[in-house]
Symmetry: C2
């Protein structure tokens, strides 16, 4: 990743393009492991308590869903891109529970791209992320801003 | 957690109140472990590549910082609250790198509270979260909407 020339630079993201990403099967033990470490609320870690909750069973921490999607993004294109991180996310919506055994996939739509004002070798890509379960239900959405080096900007690949 | 009466219900969150939360020392191995699983970009997992990057060294995945803050929220009050999850987050900003050895803390300010329109036993609390490092620099901010059961609403504690 560090020695190879990246395949995707800022210029390679085009407004309106749509990319399908995934899938990932959501594992019960992974839900519990993540939540024990980062979000130990009963409906994420305790089957019996989750059953009595308004969710009627275990659900993944919303942050776990974000993390799983991040991994799917890395595997799909970021690992091959001149990615230099993200300034942030807007309108992160956890719309429906993600449950053990669900299979999630994501759709990335490029909403907007712009050059950085402060860093001439960097451009920003504004993506809409929509996450679906195996029934086609929208379970999460967000707008994420990715920073990428510009082609021929020089400097190291990371 | 599931048998005890919660200490905090929706009514207990007051607009304008400020709560200090933390601290958490950010561990190098934890940064790498999280990122290997969820965000394996070179500047999160590879010291040498991170040194060559615009960050000049390893930094935590932004999602890892979110997850660490989530855990700090649970420890500080959610574990004792009638929390029933979150519909989402607005304006999540990763403002400065979080690095190995940093100590992060957070400040929660209640911006707004409102009863749920669709669920009479639930109320929503809109919090501003500001995350600082040991130098007092603001490294992350977000607005998070938490859902809580209302006092005397009946039902299970989770």
């Amino acid at each position: 990743m560090t020695t190879k020339e990246p395949k995707y630079y800022w210029e390679d993201f085009k407004v309106g393009e749509v990319q399908q990403i995934g899938e990932k099967r959501v594992d019960r033990d992974e839900i519990i492991e993540f939540a024990r470490q980062f979000d130990p609320q009963p409906f994420h870690i305790d089957e019996a308590a989750a059953k009595r909750s308004m969710y009627g069973g275990l659900i993944a921490s919303g942050w776990h869903t974000c993390a799983m999607i991040m991994r799917m993004m890395c595997d799909a294109y970021l690992a091959q891109a001149a990615s230099v991180g993200s300034p942030g996310i807007e309108n992160l919506k956890w719309l429906k529970p993600v449950r053990p055994g669900d299979t999630i996939s994501a759709r990335r739509t490029t909403l907007d791209t712009r050059a950085s004002k402060s860093k001439p070798d960097i451009g920003i890509v504004n993506n809409l992320w929509e996450v679906f379960n195996q029934k086609g239900e929208l379970v999460m959405s967000m707008q994420g801003h990715g920073m990428f080096r510009r082609r021929n900007s020089g400097g190291a690949a990371t």
